[in-house]
């Protein structure tokens, strides 16, 4: 049996998925990156090895997420793609007539506008973390609510309070104020959901035409309070596809499948031994010019595999 591996190494979480030849999900894995991407990739691969059906062969592998290049080098990826394209591919896979993709993760949030099966526009949060998962995480912590029960609690609200959601700092002081006034926790929670949805639509989706069907992906789609807030504001149904927390990795696996079939000459996957390899990452400061770029390099058994981080291509060109 042919299977395809998709790996999404984000700043907060690392996701692995295995798809079979018909693009059905066999297995998915969700780990915290904890600032140690290589270790997490190796650990994740070990888990995949344990879960892979007998007789199955990894035919292709795709990586995405902010550590996609690192993951691509460590694993030997057939395709390395940015997370926006991967999310769009995955959304189209589950909902072929999708026109809008909302994706909210831990550190970033995106909107992808799709028309006739092609991504035509996208937006991504730029300078601020308001409107991302970490905003909710942070506020839940303040209210001593587990993030997992945030959504359910929010849905019990009858009179949501209005909270200034433009900025996490202001949201926080506003929220404390509402708490001190004696509002119920449920009402504050749902108020936060509404603030976040408003913030998202005012910032990331600014000037974009949000048309039905709307697909909601990313970890925050677990939160049913947010889903309802979006449904109320947009006055449309929000579709949350299956496995929405790993859609980036699914997109990468789908792209790897396409790539390998098109290229028709096997995968570059380094094999499961990768888990035991001793990859070493180090960095140094280049002193060739006043920029003092931080050059990072990854090596395996003393052999340097790749270098990156420079403004010019001086170190990229040094034979590795």
């Amino acid at each position: 049996m042919d299977v395809y591996l998709g790996v999404d190494v984000g700043s907060v979480t690392t996701k692995f998925v295995l798809l079979d030849g018909d693009a059905q999900l066999i297995f998915s894995l969700y780990l915290r990156t904890q600032g140690k991407p290589i270790k997490m990739i190796q650990e994740g691969l070990n888990c995949v090895k344990g879960e892979i059906p007998t007789g199955a062969n990894i035919r292709g592998i795709g990586t995405t997420g902010s550590a996609r290049y690192l993951a691509g080098i460590v694993l030997g990826a057939d395709i390395i793609k940015n997370e926006i394209t991967c999310q769009a591919i995955a959304a189209l896979h589950y909902v072929p007539d999708v026109q809008t993709v909302i994706e909210i993760g831990g550190q970033d949030s995106k909107i992808i506008i799709i028309r006739d099966g092609i991504a035509v526009d996208f937006g991504m949060n730029t300078v601020c973390a308001a409107g991302t998962g970490s905003f909710l995480d942070h506020q839940a912590l303040r209210l001593s609510i587990e993030i997992e029960e945030f959504g359910e609690r929010a849905l019990q609200s009858h009179n949501p309070v209005r909270i200034a959601g433009r900025c996490t700092v202001f949201a926080e002081s506003d929220m404390i104020h509402k708490q001190q006034m004696g509002h119920a926790t449920e009402d504050i929670l749902y108020g936060l959901c509404q603030a976040m949805a408003r913030n998202y639509l005012n910032n990331i989706a600014l000037g974009k035409e949000v048309l039905h069907p709307v697909v909601f992906q990313g970890g925050v789609a677990f939160n049913r309070g947010i889903i309802r807030a979006f449904e109320e504001i947009l006055e449309t149904k929000i579709i949350v596809p299956p496995h929405h927390e790993v859609t980036g990795a699914i997109g990468a696996a789908l792209l790897a499948r396409e790539e390998v079939i098109e290229r028709n000459n096997g995968t570059k996957f380094r094999g499961f031994e990768v888990s035991n390899f001793d990859y070493r990452v180090s960095s140094f400061e280049c002193k060739s010019c006043p920029n003092r770029c931080e050059i990072a390099q990854i090596s395996l058994n003393g052999k340097i595999l790749a270098r990156w981080g420079g403004r010019c291509d001086l170190w990229d060109r040094v034979s590795t």
Partner: protein
Amino acid sequence: MKVGFPHGGNIYIPLRTLFRELGVDCVVPPPNSKRSLNLGTKYSPEGACLPFKLTLGNLIEACEEGADLLVQARGFGICRLGYYTRIQEPILHDLGYDAEVMKFTLSENFKFIGILKLFKRICDGASWLRILRAYHFGMSKFRDLDEIERLVQRVRPRELERGSANRLFLEATHAIDDADSMSSLKRIKKDYIEKLKGIPQDPDADPITVGIAGEIYVVLEPFANMDIEVELGKLGVEVRRKLSYYQWAKYNFYLNPLGINEWRAVRKAAYPYLRRDVGGDGWESVGEKVLYSQEYDGMIHLFPFTCMPETVAQNIMSSTKEHIPVLSIACDEQMGKVGMLTRLEAFVDLLEHRHCQKRRGTP
């Protein structure tokens, strides 16, 4: 006396040449680097824009190398450029540098006369003829660099070995900077144009085209925009850019006073959405999107974070009826290159899909 000035794209090349020809001792501050940025950020008001911070960093670095006469631009327009010298001068004085700041006013009608007068003031002994000749030599270098850069933009997405055009461009920049006579400049230009044309290219390449517009400083200073043109070249994109310091000087110095304005058509195109100057290059950004929506596959709009004129433009650009995708990138000291590359990659993916579809649609 030692003259210093801030950076902005390759503007240092004509200036250095000019001062050298006039026999004026001049300090070219080190190219923009993390150090210039850190210095500039440390001593600037927090909300100031990136060009303010970087040019302040340059001026400090020039003072460190002994400059005691600084040339900086100012304007009386609608954007913060009007305040640059007003604020940078006391900051420098507070830091203990008592360099004189000489202002070049950008909002005068006769800038050509203004700039010649400025050189005359700096180099009092020189005759007008000598100043004109030095000016001419500097401008010739500026013009040739501009021409070579346009060619580099064409070659980048088509070259078979990525990076060849860039390496040649760097070489050419140094060679032109060092040229000491009109005849050697002519030879260098011819030489590099031939070399660039000789780079093996993919004859079947059909690169997508992206127009770059926005605030002139961040569009033209590679450090401020994180080498966006080079990165786009790596992704196989042909960059079209109307803004250039040489063209700016050409029009503002000679042609605008004669009533010839290169932006007339662009501004007119913006009319349905914007009918007046909003400062900076905001009007032109909007117009360029409208006017070139057929020619470009997409546009990248670059502006300094907190730049009022371009923020106005950004909001209009996202909603005109001429629809081509626009990627807005706010440049400031907080920007990370990884985040920018992710956006560029996704943007190029999107444009390529559209490009393929358009090609299939019209045989």
